[in-house]
């Protein structure tokens, strides 16, 4: 279905043929990109799911511990205990290129190396439940960071896959068929022109011969 008007000329034909080759090549490349992205994405999203379940369970457990701590300790004491944290977490980010998608890679470091610095309070006035709670939360933290990395990667890759898929579909179902019909239309038109020229020439030749030799008059005699 040639919706747009095309000039049936040889130049246009060459141009369209070149365009078709490019489109075919692009289509193949994009399709490969999509397939590979999809493969990696599915791996990653499975990992994401497992990790998320793990983190959610971890946080749930930590929250339960905090509940216990709140029950056993005065709210004010608890506030004071966690008011001035000793530990601090810094993130270093870099990007990893997966099929032209820049996915983030986080590496974290803490301000002090001492693992016990998560307890920012003296142990005298708080219950042991608080220690447990803080400890259980700190054990989830590495997984939480990993989850952040993977979940963000999944989101970015999903967006890229969607984009690529649309491009592949546009090429496959719109661009390439359109070009093919246009090329076919031009070829037919050119062939038709050629035939009509040939017929015209034959006719002219007939007429010229007729003028020169008067075949029809002779035939009549």
């Amino acid at each position: 279905m040639a919706t747009t008007q095309v000039n049936p000329t040889r130049m246009e034909l060459t141009r369209l043929k070149k365009k078709l080759t490019t489109a075919m090549r692009g289509h193949k490349l994009l399709k490969d990109k999509r397939d590979e992205l999809m493969r990696q994405f599915l791996d990653m999203v499975r990992q994401n799911k497992l990790l998320r379940e793990k983190v959610e369970a971890g946080i749930h457990a930590a929250n339960q511990n905090f509940m216990l701590a709140r029950a056993a300790t005065d709210a004010q004491v608890l506030d004071v205990a966690l008011m001035a944290p000793k530990q601090e977490v810094f993130l270093e980010t870099s990007a990893r290129n997966v099929m032209s998608v820049d996915i983030p890679v986080f590496s974290y470091q803490t301000r002090t190396a001492d693992a016990n610095d998560i307890y920012s309070y003296g142990f005298a006035f708080t219950s042991a439940d608080l220690d447990d709670a803080v400890l259980s939360l700190s054990q989830v933290l590495p997984d939480m960071l990993k989850l952040a990395e993977i979940e963000k990667s999944c989101q970015l890759m999903a967006a890229e896959i969607e984009k690529t898929r649309r491009r592949v579909n546009a090429l496959e179902h719109v661009m390439i068929p359109d070009l093919q019909t246009n090329i076919k239309y031009i070829t037919m038109k050119l062939d038709e022109n050629e035939r009509s020229t040939q017929i015209r020439l034959m006719k002219v030749k007939d007429m010229m011969l007729e003028q020169a030799h008067h075949y029809s008059e002779r035939a009549a005699q």
Binding site: M38, E56, V89, L91, T93, Y108, I118, M144, L147, I161
Partner: protein, 107 residues
């Protein structure tokens, strides 16, 4: 050097302060949007947010989905798991594949 923030209701997030994450207790959705914008423009690469709070500012979160930083990750709050976190993973799958092939139809 980036930092990590945690947003949500105070009871759900105050424990994270001990680990050295920056906690931002917010309750009001409008306030949450403002805080989120400020954090996203600031020095935060990862922002954890409770599912309950995230449910109220969903449109705002969508803006950050396609950006490389910050990563906004939902975590269950003290009131329990609402399944919104896993739903966001599910959404990624649906966006990429066209239909959900990882989680099945059970949830």
């Amino acid at each position: 050097m980036y930092k990590i923030a945690v947003m949500g209701d105070r009871d759900s997030i105050y424990g994270f302060a001990a680990l050295g994450l920056d906690t931002y207790p917010v309750y009001d959705p409008n306030e949450a949007v403002h805080t989120l914008r400020r954090l996203a423009e600031g020095n935060y690469a990862v922002i954890y947010m409770t599912e309950a709070l995230a449910a109220q500012i969903e449109e705002e979160l969508d803006r950050y989905r396609s950006q490389q930083l910050p990563a906004i990750i939902l975590i269950p709050g003290i009131s329990g798991n609402t399944g919104r976190g896993i739903a966001s993973v599910k959404r990624s799958v649906e966006q990429a594949v066209g239909s959900d092939i990882i989680f099945g139809n059970d949830n």
